[in-house]
């Protein structure tokens, strides 16, 4: 019997719209399962990821808006009071659309939610407007309404119930959205607690790893690390007192250059910057870049050697192309290896003509010079 071809649609962030946030004015970009985001310094690449972090923290985690919306995040040369954010997410058998509009009120000014809405396949499942929340059930019926503090996200306070599975799915996706920019100087090896998600710079890496070790096995992760980090044997958590645990990494060395090897344990902080970043990046690859997940990598190639970039990137691309459980990876990079691998097929180019608003377009070779993507960028020939 012939196998039946199955198409499992991936979960993806397919569109971002932003108005009046830093250099992003009436800005929209469409995204694919894997996307390389390119552009010169100041083009708005990291701003795009900052917005995703902001929406996750505010609308899923319930962080306060103060200092993160409006104020200095408004586009400087505009005199517009509202900031608008929209996300389109394909998943759970339909298309989610989320829209958040913020302005400010009071003296001193505080950010206020003008409207916060989520729809599923063009039907409303959540609305918070003028201080009033409307909750819809899975049959899109407006069942509950109640007043709410307009200085907070009402979506962040919604709990999972049997009749709001559609909204709950979206909130879970948003809460898991991950932006990663590994900074080895801030990666701590001491776990004082367990956390479900790493922060952007992986500074709480040990806390996250402690959580992961409770939840999952790490055979594949350790195997990968032993292949990419010379001498890496294994990694474990050791009791460090006061309920804290500490990451210990066992490395093996040749004795006096001969074939005999001996092992020694090191603290995470004793490893090189590049080794720590690899440990972080492969952890994200194994434990975060999974089905239904969107992971944004902001210059992941910093600190790691040229030969280490390609295998990691290949694994990331494999994950995004997985038939069974595809994930989404958005990558900001200036690295030639990434540019040459992804720019022509998956490159989105951001630029700011005249230093004003950010524009976006697919990367290409406008003069058909036949040069590599990295060479085009080095010459500035991609922007014409």
């Amino acid at each position: 019997m012939r196998p039946v071809a199955r198409t499992i649609p991936g979960i993806m962030l397919t569109r971002i719209y932003v108005d009046n946030f830093r250099c992003l004015v009436n800005f929209q970009c469409d995204l694919r399962a894997k996307q390389l985001i390119l552009g010169s310094n100041g083009a708005g690449k990291s701003t795009l990821f900052d917005i995703l972090t902001l929406l996750r923290d505010f609308c899923a985690n319930g962080d306060p808006p103060d200092g993160r919306f409006l104020g200095q995040t408004r586009t400087r040369w505009q005199n517009v009071t509202e900031q608008t954010f929209e996300l389109d997410v394909l998943g759970n058998g339909g298309l989610y659309k989320m829209r958040l509009v913020m302005d400010s009120v009071g003296n001193p000014e505080r950010p206020r939610v003008v409207s916060e809405e989520v729809s599923f396949s063009d039907k409303p499942i959540f609305r918070f407007e003028r201080g009033e929340v409307h909750l819809f059930n899975d049959r899109f019926e407006d069942k509950v309404k109640y007043p709410f503090d307009w200085h907070r996200s009402a979506l962040a306070t919604i709990t999972e119930r049997k009749d709001n599975t559609k909204l709950s799915w979206f909130k879970r996706w948003l809460g898991r959205l991950l932006v990663v920019s590994p900074d080895p100087r801030h990666m701590s090896g001491l776990a004082a607690q367990e956390v479900r998600c790493p922060d952007q710079y992986l500074s709480n890496f040990a806390d996250w790893y402690r959580h992961l070790r409770q939840e999952t096995e790490d055979f594949g992760y350790i195997k990968d690390l032993s292949e990419v980090i010379e001498g890496f044997v294994r990694m474990r958590l050791e009791d460090a007192g006061e309920r804290r645990r500490e990451i210990k990494v066992r490395m093996s060395f040749s004795e006096n250059g001969n074939s005999e090897k001996s092992d020694q344990e090191f603290l995470l902080g004793e490893l090189s910057d590049g080794q720590r970043v690899l440990i972080g990046l492969y952890a994200v690859l194994h434990f975060a870049l999974k089905r239904d997940a969107t992971v944004c990598f902001d210059e992941p190639d910093n600190f790691i050697a040229l030969r280490e970039v390609q295998p990691w990137l290949a694994r990331v691309i494999d994950r995004t192309e997985d038939d069974e459980s595809p994930a989404q990876a958005l990558i900001v990079s200036h690295h030639p290896e990434l540019l040459n691998r992804m720019a022509f097929k998956e490159g989105l180019l951001l630029d700011r003509p005249g230093g004003r608003v950010t524009r976006v377009r697919r990367f290409d070779d406008p003069s058909e010079t036949g040069l590599s993507a990295s060479e085009l960028i080095a010459r500035g020939w991609e922007s014409e």
């Binding site: 003069s367 058909e368 010079t369 036949g370 040069l371 080095a378 010459r379 014409e384």
Partner: protein
């Protein structure tokens, strides 16, 4: 399209060649910084076989410059390659004809070919006032940055319209002065 050159691509073998051309461009008042200037220096891309790298990369660079020149902005390609044990004319043929012997350069191509007889250090010494034998080896001692700058200034003077090259100007440099002049 304006006649003003919006980008210069330099394809050369090594650092002395690159420094001489950069110094010459600076003397002409032209930028040697991005986005106006881009170097492909073979010694930084391959280990050994620099001149082969320049010859092999030339068709790709020629095509890129030609296409961009025709549709976008004035772009030119400066190529420096030592003739080594060939004559400068023979080396020029390596660029003018492709591997099948067909002409690959067109009349209007924005390309400047600079071909020292043995190596560019002989041009540098000659421009500094030394009477050189073009078959001789002038790589040691290596010319300093300031010597290369002085040599570029002298080549600039020799390449000007109505200028008479000095008595130390060797034949291959004399033959290349029209190409140097086109750069300014």
């Amino acid at each position: 399209m304006s006649d003003r050159v919006s980008m210069t691509v330099l394809l050369c073998e090594d650092d002395p060649q690159e420094q001489l051309v950069r110094s010459y461009l600076t003397r002409c008042g032209q930028s040697t910084q991005p986005p106006m200037f881009r170097t492909r220096n073979a010694s930084r891309e391959v280990h050994g076989g620099n001149v082969d790298r320049v010859i092999n990369e030339f068709p790709k660079e020629l095509l890129a410059c030609r296409r961009r020149h025709s549709v976008r902005a004035n772009t030119r390609l400066i190529v420096v390659a030592d003739a080594d044990n060939h004559s400068p004319a023979q080396r020029k043929q390596h660029f003018q004809k492709d591997s099948q012997g067909n002409e690959q350069m067109l009349g209007g191509d924005p390309v400047m070919l600079l071909i020292p007889k043995r190596h560019v250090e002989a041009w540098i010494r000659a421009a500094l006032g030394t009477m050189v034998n073009e078959d001789g080896d002038y790589k040691n001692p290596e010319p300093t940055r300031s010597e290369i700058r002085q040599a570029a200034d002298q080549i600039y003077e020799w390449a000007r319209d109505n200028a008479e090259p000095g008595p130390t100007c060797p034949e291959s440099l004399r033959a290349a002065l029209p190409e140097w002049r086109k750069i300014c």
